[in-house]
Symmetry: C2
Subunit: 217 residues, 2 copies
């Protein structure tokens, strides 16, 4: 047999390659998330996407290069979500949409979030440069915006960094600690619970920094 590629039809050679790479990346994301970089094996990833191990090495030269690609892909998604933190609108809208988006990401990209958390916890050996460039500049922009809101009296005077950390921590917790949450919940959160959690997180944080949402109270 050949062109194992899965259950794919025949696309162009390039698109076939993309599909295979994506399948490997998807499998690798789950395995790296569940086992960590050191605990993950190329064999486990190969089994997970139904390819022989040697085939993985054809597409990705080494385990580390594969891992790097997984992390880079996650960071891209993270950056896109970061755009939902509008710097133009009102704090109410900006923060609510940002928090809601991050909660959604935690639900839809649990494994990606875990890989990111693992990477940072282990000292970010692979993505230190991302932290120092992209993440730092993004953060500084938002800190400036929040400071302006504070100066305008729209937000209580707080250090914006502690607020951002709280948002990151709380939203990502629903992905990274999903197992703990599901244990306490006797099963996965349902739609209503996700909506409730998102709403509660928004409310506590907005009230906490002195924003009275729902103007007509």
């Amino acid at each position: 047999m050949a062109q194992t590629g899965g259950a794919e039809k025949s696309g162009s050679r390039a698109s076939m390659r993309e599909e295979t790479e994506r399948a490997i990346l998807d499998a690798a994301e789950v395995v790296f998330a569940e086992k960590g970089f050191g605990g993950a094996t190329m064999q486990a990833i190969a089994d997970s996407c139904g390819l022989p191990k040697a085939n993985l090495h054809y597409y990705f030269a080494s385990k580390e290069k594969l891992y790097r690609r997984v992390v880079e892909r996650i960071f891209t998604i993270w950056l896109e979500a970061a755009d939902s933190f509008e710097t133009e609108g009102s704090p109410d809208v900006a923060l609510r949409s940002y928090i809601a988006r991050k909660m959604q990401l935690s639900r839809e990209h649990r494994y990606g979030s875990k890989v990111w958390a693992n990477e940072v916890m282990h000292g970010a050996p692979i993505i230190q440069d991302y932290l120092e460039t992209n993440l730092r500049s993004w953060t500084e922009t938002r800190v400036t915006v929040i400071r302006r809101w504070i100066d305008e009296g729209r937000v209580r005077p707080i250090d914006p960094r502690w607020l951002l950390y709280m948002i990151w921590a709380t939203t990502q917790h629903y992905a990274d600690f999903a197992h703990q949450i599901e244990t306490l919940n006797h099963g996965p959160l349902d739609d209503a619970q996700w909506a409730g959690a998102t709403e509660t997180v928004c409310d506590i944080i907005l009230r906490g920094i002195g924003i009275d949402s729902d103007p007509p109270a």
Copy 2:
């Protein structure tokens, strides 16, 4: 040479044993936190506490048994801290002392927190029973207390679970994501920053759930 045991004086045989075990556990906690279970090697732990690898196996039969002991020790500390969530006093005092204690733990037991996070992220293969017994009963107790506060009108109506998760997430973030925070901060947080972060976290959460602290506003 013998009785390498470090720079210890000669204590009783039993206390010597305890000291050695503690030294191994301390080293193991750091290595497991930084490398994960799969990425950690017995050799690295041995080097870290200046003992030959074979000696580790004299005190701990296997890598997994050593890891289990590390996690159990962390859970004990976690449980002690949980007691600072008083179920008798006012919500203001109970939550403030609990949050402050958890922030302090994040600062003083960064590696323990990371090991715990790793364990939960990987599906809690070792400590699932702890989650289902100790953590669940602790949580249910506090949920009941918070519900009572809500019924008494002392706290805004919210699902207590989302509040607890927010507290856990935010406080533990300062340990688990310390590397990211320190990168953005251009260095470790100093005493004033830790105090400020703790204060801000307390304020946002208490205000967020409708508690007006500092009664005389």
